[in-house]
């Protein structure tokens, strides 16, 4: 299946007010890859993500999902295969109950009623939120909202998952649960995040953005070991790879773990 390939060629986007969002971006992400998109605030991560399913159309260059370049004609098909989880779950959960919200996508896909229900239960089971099915979204906690927001996308069974800051505003345990969940997905994943430790856990490949341009694209571990590159891009080493603040030693176990980690 070539549906799962995401390719960008010289992508440019300038906002109507003249702010440059992204500048000459090219990459190719293949089937099953898990890619972290990192960069300082305002580096263009969210802008780039919005291009992946046609929420924004580039001013120059093109993006292809599968074998076809994205355009207004195939935008519906593309949105079927690219599922996007927004940064703020409140933007994503707009229906009166969790059930309605998760069912929104499948119903729009034209599935029959019994299949819609199946999809909803399955998606909610996957994220561990079955018990919330009849609750109104505004009554959920932050972690619950995030889980349901992910379920709304899973219910559409996309090939490619695009997420904007999935671990922001989560407590440590919910964050850990999210990481486990993300690791269990076999989709192609593109995750924009500031949580470099999560990127290290979930993604084998990292793309670093700075001021709308790609400054590095490669294996996560080698990028996070390049302190000069990180500093240049407004980032720093993930905490898990830094020395211990109390004993001032590198955790030897960590080092071995990180350096010997084989890409899956």
């Amino acid at each position: 299946m070539s549906h799962h390939i995401v390719q960008a060629d010289n992508l440019n986007y300038t906002y109507p007010d003249g702010t440059i969002g992204i500048n000459n971006i090219s990459f190719k992400i293949t089937h099953g890859e898990s890619v972290a998109l990192v960069g300082a605030n305002g580096a263009g991560k969210s802008t780039l993500l919005l291009h992946l399913n046609g929420c924004l159309i580039s001013t120059q260059g093109e993006i292809s999902i599968g074998d076809y370049p994205l355009n207004k004609k195939n935008i519906k098909a593309v949105r079927r295969s690219v599922g996007m989880v927004f940064q703020n779950p409140d933007d994503q959960l707009f229906m009166p109950t969790v059930f309605d919200d998760v069912a929104f996508g499948p119903i729009n896909l034209g599935l029959p009623e019994n299949q819609v229900e199946q999809r909803v239960t399955h998606a909610l089971e996957t994220v561990g939120a079955t018990h919330l099915i009849n609750r109104p979204p505004y009554k959920l906690s932050g972690g619950e909202k995030r889980a349901v927001a992910i379920a709304t996308i899973l219910a559409c069974s996309p090939d490619i998952l695009v997420m904007d800051e999935p671990s922001s505003n989560l407590d440590p345990l919910s964050r850990r649960r999210l990481i486990k969940l993300l690791k269990s997905f076999e989709h192609t994943k593109i995750i924009a995040t500031h949580d470099l430790d999560m990127a290290l856990d979930v993604c084998q490949r990292t793309i670093v953005l700075h001021k709308g341009k790609i400054t590095a694209d490669g294996p996560t571990i080698s990028i996070f070991n390049d302190e000069e590159l990180l500093a240049r891009s407004g980032l720093e080493k993930p905490l898990g790879m830094q020395e211990c603040p109390i004993c001032k030693k590198n955790n030897p176990k960590n080092q071995i773990l990180f350096y010997n980690k084989k890409p899956r």
Partner: protein, 269 residues
């Protein structure tokens, strides 16, 4: 906690009430909606001096509050909150209409006062019926009933979105107010001028959010139609509920029950 947030929790409390499980809660929302509309139409159609004929209508909200186990004081507070609007409408009646209508001994009551009380009665009856409807059915239940009864979907969806994002908007507004009060240190914090920019800010944020929600909807295949259909059953119980109450309403509307009862009692004596 400031008053806005308190009110927010108060509105949410209505949803909690709606999730109770009494026989009235289980009724099809359409039955309750039809009955409520019927009740309001009957009460509103009474003449402006007919206070005595309005009194028997109290039976409907009372029976509903008791059998749906709704908290009377909570509903009363909500009614008092909107009472100023009704008072404002009726307050000039006593000044304009000074023809005496009723004489109690040496005290005569003018038509203005009677019509003022009739406005207040009508207000209390209709508003309490609406509040009871929402506390028994939930706002979304009412919306779905409207859709099933043929109200155009765009209107219904507007209402549902309004209700969903009311909470988000209030929360955002409350956060701004808190940020303002924390840095205004007991002074008035730049006063009224400040509120204009605060409102502007809130509007811009709302526009941004609307755009993001629209994108999120498009990402999941939105094509102008929102699926809110739910299987609803209008069965024997619902028909009975609507018929019995409609009968009572028509009866109280057509006959002046307090007078009739008075005549019967006087006849016996």
């Amino acid at each position: 906690m400031n008053t806005i947030e308190k009110n927010l929790f108060d509105i949410r409390y209505m949803d909690t009430l709606a999730s109770k499980n009494t026989s009235l809660h289980r009724l099809d929302p359409r039955a309750k909606l039809i009955t409520t509309l019927m009740f309001i139409a009957m009460v509103v159609s009474l003449g402006k001096y007919e206070i005595s004929r309005m009194i028997p209508f109290i039976i409907y909200p009372m029976v509903m509050i008791i059998s749906a186990e709704l908290p009377f004081l909570y509903l009363l507070k909500k009614m008092i909150l909107v009472a100023p609007f009704a008072i404002l409408i009726g307050i000039f009646n006593p000044l304009m209409d000074t023809t005496p209508l009723v004489h109690l001994g040496s005290v005569s009551i003018t038509g203005g006062w009677i019509s003022f009380f009739s406005i207040m009665m009508r207000f209390s009856l209709t508003v309490s019926a609406a509040l009871i409807l929402i506390s028994m059915t939930g706002f979304n239940g009412v919306c779905m009933a409207l859709e099933k009864m043929g109200v155009p979907q765009p209107f219904v969806v507007q209402l549902m979105f309004l209700y969903r994002y009311l909470f988000v908007l209030i929360e955002e507004g409350a956060k701004m107010l808190r940020a303002r009060s924390l840095r205004s240190f007991d002074s008035k914090g730049l006063g009224f001028k400040y509120f204009i920019s605060l409102l502007g800010q809130l509007l811009l944020q709302t526009l941004d959010r609307a755009q993001r929600i629209h994108l999120a909807m498009c990402c999941r295949g939105f094509d102008g139609h929102i699926p809110i259909n739910r299987p609803m059953k209008f069965g024997y119980k619902e028909i009975r509920f609507v018929l019995i109450w409609s009968f009572i309403f028509i009866l109280t509307r057509s006959y002046n029950l307090p007078v009739k009862i008075g005549e019967i009692i006087a006849g016996i004596l």
